[in-house]
Symmetry: C3
Subunit: 233 residues, 3 copies
């Protein structure tokens, strides 16, 4: 499953046609994390390491992709499934969705999911989830920042597509530059972050799509993007 | 008071019977922080240093304890009392509770409470509290992440016990590993955090309680914890 | 505009009379960021660098000022205007206010505003704003921490003045010490932060206004501040 997800995330990643990725599921469960049978005594430590390393690789890959990744959640997201939601750039959830890290119940604390949760939620909310295994409702997840939008179930597809279409109206190269820069600056101190992003703004303006956007705005017309990383001569 | 609190927090800390700590108060005030008479001119700088060092020691001790620490707040938490709430792992508050850092009113900015507040609340909310001394309501504290749950006053005991009992259903050694790991990873960069926690997941699985939990889940029975840090041979 | 703002922010900054700064606007727009005509092809890279460097300088200056800076928002704050709100210490907004980073629409990702947004908002909320350019409502901005208070439009002046007057009741030197300490500790690890702020508490108590505040409290009278950074002998 993790190998398939990695492959799907990387599929056509450099194509100009790929502009946004939506991770969704069929049925009442968005994702319930690891198959515990893979983690039982019979398997050796080396195999356990490989499973968790692959999982961390897929989770961090999401932030490295050049396009926005949206989690479209309609149901239960638990353990590494909750980590998957927390690892996406944007998350839209239906009102019935729930989010939990119930590893404590089976003696396996959700320590890798905690990495993503701890960077998405207030500390106390994350710890209550991790210590009790009890779920957050969709509205609690929104209030606390685990998801960025909550809608009734029958509007989930519409809202996700609305966000996706909005993203597709923009230049791929500009979004790619912006996404990479966001994750780079977020751990820097303020002065370093501003020095780096100030240079990125200048670089962004040298892109063909950077100048096209501003020209189109001034000329009051729709921009025509190349989506390429080429600079304007 | 701080010395008593430290002693109480450390009491029986290694016992398998100690599984969760609840910090509560009697009367309308949860905790109002330092006794200002201890901080007046008559006392010397060295004594002031000792008071604040002890306070910081107790606050950071909470995160180092091997069991979850819950603040059960029913009333006013101000200055170092608000810091105490922010320093706990989980905080449950009654609807009438209020949270403030009014040090500015008496010319002593709540700079040590700000350490805990700045890690629990959005920056603007923390700064408005610190600059004005005005209180947050319980619902504002929940919305902004200072507490993880708010209930009517007559449900406070029940809700706190519900969370405590849920915690007591889990293995002490697994919770201890998870708590220590959470606070360790939270300040690391993403790659370091995932590398460290991936190893922790593997180590967790070698614990007796790690394997017991998964076996019980697969065999559809209740797990029987040892609560010990022993590895399964 | 940025040069004027810098000059205004620095005006009389050392005067004991200057105790709080409110940034407000007339008309339906709080601030809409850069003038795009300044960023078009005709201008050279060097000029673009200067514009963004000056912008980052003004934004970081706000945190370095010795007095609290309040954004009083009644309308639309976009791009660097949204960054300006996020960069203030406190932000009060009317219910009709909206906040957006629509740079993607014109091919210029809001990478410098993202520095301030990423430090004020949950990651997913910030990224959805940055990737789509769609606005947050005032209530969403409050829920997610971009502003610290939302009031009806006809109460905006009153609420801003209430906060300002509360700030003016405190000692300037104590607030200046507290503000500088807050931003210094926020990026430190917990132990370093407590070590540093513990010393600041002791220093705060040696200030004339530190001792005056405590004496007044014990004597049950109003404190009389000097606002000076002098220590009590």
């Amino acid at each position: 499953m993790l190998r398939c997800l990695r492959q799907d995330l990387l599929h056509d990643v450099k194509s100009r046609e790929l502009r946004v990725i939506v991770i969704a599921a069929e049925g009442p469960v968005f994702c319930s994390g690891h198959d515990l049978k893979e983690l039982s005594t019979e398997d050796d430590v080396k195999h356990h390491s490989q499973v968790f390393e692959l999982c961390a690789e897929v989770m961090t890959l999401i932030q490295k992709l050049p396009v926005p990744v949206i989690a479209k959640v309609n149901g239960l997201a638990t353990a590494a499934g909750c980590q998957l939601v927390a690892s996406c750039d944007i998350a839209v959830a239906s009102e019935k969705s729930k989010f939990a890290t119930p590893g404590v119940n089976i003696g396996l604390f959700c320590s890798t999911p905690a990495v993503a949760l701890g960077r998405s939620l207030p500390r106390k909310v994350a710890l209550e989830m991790l210590f009790t295994g009890e779920p957050l409702s969709a509205h609690e997840a929104l209030m606390h920042g685990l998801v960025s939008k909550v809608v009734p179930e029958d509007k989930l597809e519409e809202e996700t597509m609305k966000i996706s279409h909005k993203i597709c109206e923009s230049s791929k190269s500009v979004l790619a530059l912006g996404k990479a820069t966001f994750y780079r600056q977020i751990t820097q101190d303020l002065d370093t972050a501003y020095k780096m992003t100030t240079q990125v703004m200048v670089d962004n303006l040298t892109l063909r799509d950077g100048q096209e956007g501003i020209e189109a705005f001034i000329q009051k017309r729709k921009p025509v993007w190349t989506h390429s990383q080429e600079e304007k001569k």
